[in-house]
Symmetry: C2
Subunit: 349 residues, 2 copies
């Protein structure tokens, strides 16, 4: 009994060892240099040939043997969008770790990227970097194959969703962070604590709110689903949902804001309603962006070590590149820590 | 009569046309491929040979003929340090313009850069980018020669000091910005207006304070040198110098803070002294970072179009690359504009 794939290409071995370039060429009915051209992202290959070769590379799990000398001294850093307020912290960490390894950083944005020179992944493959770091951005099946067949390792940083067990990734202890933020409020004496979450499609947002729930439950406090609102991690959501929470008759005396930007939106809502922080309302953020220290009052928040996470992701991708086989499923989580400033206090008597 | 340089290398023409690669090779006593290797940043050239060739390239103003095909689809973006609060705005603009041109962005930091692979400029030369954008960072003579001899154009963005008349650069109308910030305060009725400047070695800081002075003088108000303090564009300076200004018996009723970060430091100083903004103190910033909208009260500031400036610098460097001879001394200044929010009001009666 044969699987559809092996029936399609009987001349290429499927098990035990990976196919050679010559075998892929024979199966595709092209010369070995043509397969090479496809691997190197060269433009002078007919589209039909190219996609036939790509299909075979994928179905046979072809993996180019590494030759460090042929790699460019580059690391690719890819953001879904460069709008993120904490992109700078990440860039700094990757640049620092790359520099230590003698590499330069190519920065790009994957959102809406359709350039004349082919897809984003084609361009990356043609540059032959030492590795790729993806921030809040996954890879589709085709992109993954493209990188894997060129033996270009990749690591996902702070995945928005579930990166899949086999994808190496670096994150922070989001659940633990939500837990300690909320415990801090409980210990100050708050019993009516609201939460503004990030988008529910982001695992990190879910983990933070789950930590919030766990803190309430372990303290013997009821979790009121009406006090948990879904935001999107932007300032505007903190403002809008903050107004919603704070205008209620039985308003919360404290809010875990999900991230720092939402906390700042919540500050604005409180100002507009004439509520003083922390006297009338305690606020805890998440991230510890530089701005958290600068707002009035300085924000109590959960520090996410973004620069260190980015450095760790860079080291991880370089380690993957040095090994014969990448460690599948490597997942690293760096610890978060509560930074107590002036936006939290016991509830008014 | 001959100059020392031409006496040193009599076989190479100095005037009328630039030296050819073969002529440089003959003068250096090496083969043309060796000169080529030096130009391409290859490691397999003896250091003594390399520096002899570099010296000749410099003294004869050698300029490689452009061959677009041999260039990598890259733009280099170089920060002196990645610490700048507005680096993200610049990165976004360069990325946007580069993407439109089908190019990717290599990001690096020039401060303290000593990598095993040679100097920063050597690495840039070896990558053969379409151009280099330097942010708050100049080039020394050797780096400039290295780029010029490879026909790699460069543009300086928002120069901290005087970039020199022959260096293409993009900035903002800093003087005009300082003028309109201060005029706004004068029009509100303030007569005792302080200023916290950036570092005096930065031309942009000087220009802003000169605009402040011009606004006072044209309004018939005396300029009190004791009300102008030199900061460094960081939050801490705004706080420290803010305390200095606000603790005086005859304290100013308004302050032009030089940039947004110093304005936020000034906010903190005012909070600490129990002064309300804008009731007791009006504050104007400069830059219009995203945070200016989020602080309490939202900050009146001078918008510097950083993303547009970065896009303009990218377009300029690509234009320079397309011309046979770069336009020496191109300098572009984009307009600043006053954004009035809630941190300014008439002085208390």
């Amino acid at each position: 009994m044969t699987s559809p794939e092996s029936a399609e290409t009987p001349s290429v071995p499927r098990q035990g060892r990976t196919a050679t370039l010559a075998e892929i060429a024979r199966a595709a009915g092209v010369s070995a240099p043509t397969v090479s051209k496809v691997l190197n992202g060269r433009a002078d290959v007919a589209p039909a040939t190219r996609s036939r070769v790509e299909r075979l590379l994928r179905s046979h799990g072809y993996r180019r043997r590494r030759a460090d000398a042929s790699r460019s001294p580059l690391i690719e850093l890819v953001f879904h969008e460069l709008e993120s307020a904490w992109a700078m912290e990440v860039i700094r960490g990757v640049e620092r770790a790359a520099r230590r390894a003698g590499l330069s950083v190519v920065l790009s944005e994957s959102a809406g990227r359709h350039t004349p020179g082919g897809s984003w992944a084609d361009q990356v493959a043609a540059r032959r970097p030492h590795g790729v770091i993806l921030v809040l951005s996954g890879l589709d099946e085709g992109q993954r194959t493209l990188l894997t067949s060129r033996s270009i390792p990749f690591v996902v940083m702070d995945p928005a969703g579930d990166p899949g067990a086999e994808v190496p990734s670096v994150g922070a202890t989001n659940w633990q962070g939500g837990l300690s933020a909320t415990r801090h409020l409980v210990e100050l004496g708050h019993t009516r604590i609201g939460a503004i979450s990030g988008p529910t499609r982001m695992m990190c947002a879910r983990a933070r709110v789950d930590g919030y729930r766990a803190a309430l439950e372990t303290a013997g406090l009821a979790v009121d689903p009406g006090l948990i609102l879904d935001g999107d991690f932007h300032h505007e959501a903190g403002y809008r949902l903050g107004l919603d929470l704070l205008r209620r008759d039985n308003r919360p005396t404290a809010v875990f804001a999900g991230n720092d930007l939402q906390a700042l939106g919540l500050y604005e809502a409180a100002r507009e309603l004439g509520l003083r922080i922390p006297d009338d309302l305690s606020v805890v953020g998440f991230d510890d962006l530089p701005v958290a220290r600068w707002v009035g009052p300085p924000l109590t928040t959960v520090r996410q070590p973004l620069t260190e996470m980015a450095e760790a992701a860079t080291r991880m991708v370089l380690e993957l590149g040095r090994e014969e086989k990448p460690t599948a499923g490597a997942r690293m989580e760096l610890a978060t820590s509560l930074v107590v400033r002036s936006s939290t206090a016991p509830p008014a008597a």
